[in-house]
Subunit: 348 residues, 4 copies
């Protein structure tokens, strides 16, 4: 079967992954409404393409926090990559580096940060973290990441508790015994199942800042009010995210709240987005609505499940080609020409 | 099969109940548009969740008419519980008491008020009534309920006549001979099929007030005009209800008119809602739009049909867990933090 | 099978009528969008029912052009009733009289006006006509109808040409040889297939008025502009109609333009409606939006196909019962209490 | 099977064309959203038909750039007609001439311009072109077309690069070896696959004007901004087109942007449309929204696939009959009576 578009990789993963792993990656909370909305919402946005512009030389590069990437798509933090491919996050890191983009590494990786760094030295990586009940453990993780050359911290804000994902409950999902959360081995022995501290507040951003020189990005913001708070607390970036529809169900699709947040932020920090990106034209829409860059979650896992780092590169390359072509057909020769005028949004 | 969410109980009941009983409980009027809208309408409401709030200590208790309940979900009045479980309303009363919530007992119960009271002494119960052509019979019922410790009267306003429920007509639905409307045995012998008095008006609220010290709640209000009338006639609470889609078809979903009624009432009385609650997040939406508490009808029957009082407790516990988790993920640590800001509502 | 609602009669007719006859009655133009919209549009209208009103004595009678009918539903003009039942329009006339309502008799009847009149003497009937190329033939028809006691003329305005109904073309539909257009036998011999005069204009209303003392009603109006013209040309009533979706396709559902026309007419003439009525609550919606009476087309044919005049009475009786019950559940004890406040209409 | 409407021809073509050819003609870009929207958008437009107007004499002729055509439907430029019928574009030219309408001949024809001209001498034809990297080749084509009597140039503006059409990639679509792009044989040998020049801008319109006396029409405009630019650069007409949904996906349906463009142009040039026309009433809607004429793409190919020039004439004749009938039923006796008042448009 030819791998022509990202849904081909999805179909492949659904067919070849063990059901329990497919279900885990595919899961949304409750009725999975937000998970599905994340993709459907793009269908309500139409382009207003401009014709007869010189698009003979296309430049799709961008910068995030000052680092150039080959195109505005990075890898969102997702856990347990060994469920998709034996080499796990090491393959992810290699693919991201090969494609010259950013890989946000999850705390819940099945390779250690050290293994990941060694697999793709010099690659642009950010480290995703939760603040744990055991603050010392969190502090240690932050400092390990900084020491290993990760260039930003991404604090996930939308998981004070794990949500209810029905299929995982039915399947009795748990990591297979031969896989480990390599970054948390010690900690897990102590307080299984309740690592995350649900008492975390905005003030803890200051605590994090006291531990590290790395810029802090907050992930999981869905309202302008929280965006304003994030800016005031000194974060350097915001990832508009609903955790892929895996936390509170029936929150809006991320693309549907992006414009509200971009407007609230008024350029003071960079705004990114994850959730629902399946085509190059989705990337173009997100950028038209103000995102500096987007991140892919499940599609990266489908790529891994197809052929490890090679499969993930295929996924990224398809998105890159589609993005470049969409830009050209919309009349934009460089990322700086993309703007709000390119799209019209239907109300729900 | 694991019972993970309320639709699991629905599927179980559909499979194991006699068709005629399932159809009776499931029935809506005419084309069942309102019945289905009651649940669909929740899908048009999106949360605006707030992040990084301290949700380590969750308090989901509330009070209705001054009585504390463990969470803002009670049991709506539905008839004929023996169709679902041999012990009928006695099991319902025991489950409600065990879960520390309110059970609105229907006039059309297959256990007598006395049996129900004896089954779960001290439980919080309200008594649902119709005003009958035979006013003396209604008076007697009110006074029996008051004597037995019921703490409020719930007058159903939307049933001057029974509506047309096609499946019940096709099935020739009637109560099996070994079940009885225990509270109405004498009366039924006299005037079968026309107990309800279609001449009842708002003035009859005053007549009811003259019979009892109990607070009166009116159930079946769908417009701000009637909400205003209810307040003016001295009721203490309003249940926004369309009788589960079982009376006039093609009235709005209850969640769609809740805000209009809450606004009209301006805090003078408590506003409750029934209809369409299937998940903890539905409860959160109703509270965000101003309900003090919601009541479940069919899901309680599915719980009974599964395992009697134990099954109903399962249903209530699932809703409780889901409600608590939804609150936390939306950034609310107590019921008092829930407000209109938490939701955005799409127009039809 | 129990005949509980009108769709039961539809299913029966679809099963037992010859396909060519079923297709002819069911046909809409082109893609049948308007035909289907006629019924779907009612689903977008919600009731705002009022509670605790005295509905113990229900009065569902109304008057059209001064004549009392038992409830605001009459029989719309449709052709070829012998395709549905051997006695054809004679049965229709008997059923309408038995139910004390109005029967608009089509020019294209398979019984003659004389036969129809003799079958149900004294029944309230209006005569539907087209203006033919052969004006003398039209004049003769008008005068025959007046002589036979028909009490109004209903001029169909939306058929300058027959529309394109795909199934009829595929089926090669034509009347079976043993059936005749009894009112037009002579005329048909002269100018088959082009009876209707496509040059007719509003001025021809004056010509009609010169031929008869009967009040003239115009059928097929869908815009306020034409409603205004109708009033100015002295018609006594307007039937908002799209010919059951059988003329220009993709015009609005009749219920969707009713309010616009009622508003334009400002009470100067009576406004009626046909198209899409399938339940008593549909009748209530049409009256709430300003119709004085509605007329049923296909459902009358399904009734005939079921059991002739008895079947049609069943259909009318079901509508009558449903209408009365809907009124009561909406809080109206008489037709005069029905008004615009009863409904809310969603925009398309 | 009777060929009653255009979808009959579609079904026939899908059944009898080789899959690879059907897929090529049917293809849209990416998820084919715009391709499907092109037809669906018409369903959201309703007529406001006027009654009792004299429609006994119907005149459906119109003029485009001063040339009279028998009705406002021409043939849009599509490539590779020999995939549909052995005689290819020669049959297309004959059918267009027989029906007295305009055929926009594609650069990518499988017959040469000379063969096409010889097949139907004197027919009204416009020549569609791209500006190629090899400007001399473009110049030669323009001058050949002018010499052969083509009466306008149609510059396609929306194809700086070919889009991504998944089915063609999966099928490995390429022209069968016995078919050739007759107009480009030499050129293709030089620079296969990259003929089109993506650096073309509005200034190249002036270059084109310097080569020819023919009026220039620009095809592929979807915004008022580009419409204004087109007028300012001296084009004589605009074809509102999204390339049948074959270039940038998720741009609006053409009928949805027509009014915006007509308004921007303010009558300074003629505005045409292609995309989604499947019924005579679609033509009426496009004219009501301001198009001077519409062009059909895929339906012409289905007609060819059915019976060559005879099949294409069937398609045109059906559209012509349907258009005339729709006009009459809407109350318009000539094209000049069609206007914005005839339609109401629902917002998405």
């Amino acid at each position: 079967m030819a791998m022509v578009c990202l849904s081909d990789f999805e179909a492949h993963a659904k067919k070849y992954l063990p059901k329990i792993a497919w279900d885990y990656f595919a899961a949304g909370t409750d009725d999975c409404i937000t998970r599905d909305e994340n993709t459907l919402a793009y269908k309500r946005i139409r382009f207003r393409p401009r014709m007869l512009r010189d698009v003979s030389v296309m430049d799709i590069r961008t910068k995030i926090l000052g680092n150039e990437i080959s195109f505005p798509v990075g890898i969102a933090p997702t856990g347990f990559h060994q469920l998709a491919w034996p080499d796990g996050e090491k393959s992810t890191a290699r693919a991201a580096k090969a494609m010259n983009t950013c890989y946000i590494t999850s705390t819940y990786s099945t390779c250690s940060l050290e293994e990941i760094s060694a697999a793709a030295p010099g690659g642009l990586r950010w480290f995703q973290l939760y603040i744990h009940r055991n603050r010392a453990a969190s502090q240690q993780l932050v400092q390990r990441a900084e020491g290993l050359g990760f260039q930003a911290l991404v604090l996930t804000a939308d998981l004070p508790y794990m949500s209810k994902r029905r299929d995982d409950i039915r399947n009795g999902f748990r990591l297979p015994p031969h896989m480990k959360l390599k970054n948390l081995e010690q900690e897990f022995e102590v307080c299984k199942k309740s690592l995350m501290d649900p008492s975390v507040t905005w003030n803890d951003i200051h605590w994090l800042q006291s531990l590290t020189h790395l810029p802090i990005i907050v992930k999981g913001i869905l309202t302008k009010e929280d965006a304003e708070l994030a800016v005031r607390h000194g974060v350097r970036g915001i990832i508009v995210s609903n955790h892929g529809g895996r936390q509170l169900d029936e929150v809006p699709a991320t693309i549907d709240v992006l414009a509200e947040i971009v407007e609230a932020v008024r350029g003071r920090v960079e705004v990114y987005l994850d959730g629902g990106i399946r085509k190059g034209s989705d990337v173009l829409k997100a950028l038209a609505l103000g995102a500096k860059c987007v991140f892919i979650g499940r599609p990266a896992l489908w790529g891994l499940a197809y052929k490890g780092e090679e499969g993930l590169q295929d996924v990224l390359r398809i998105l890159q080609d589609e993005f470049r072509l969409s830009m050209a057909l919309a009349g934009c020769a460089s990322v700086s020409e993309i703007g709000r005028h390119l799209v019209q949004v239907s109300k729900l």
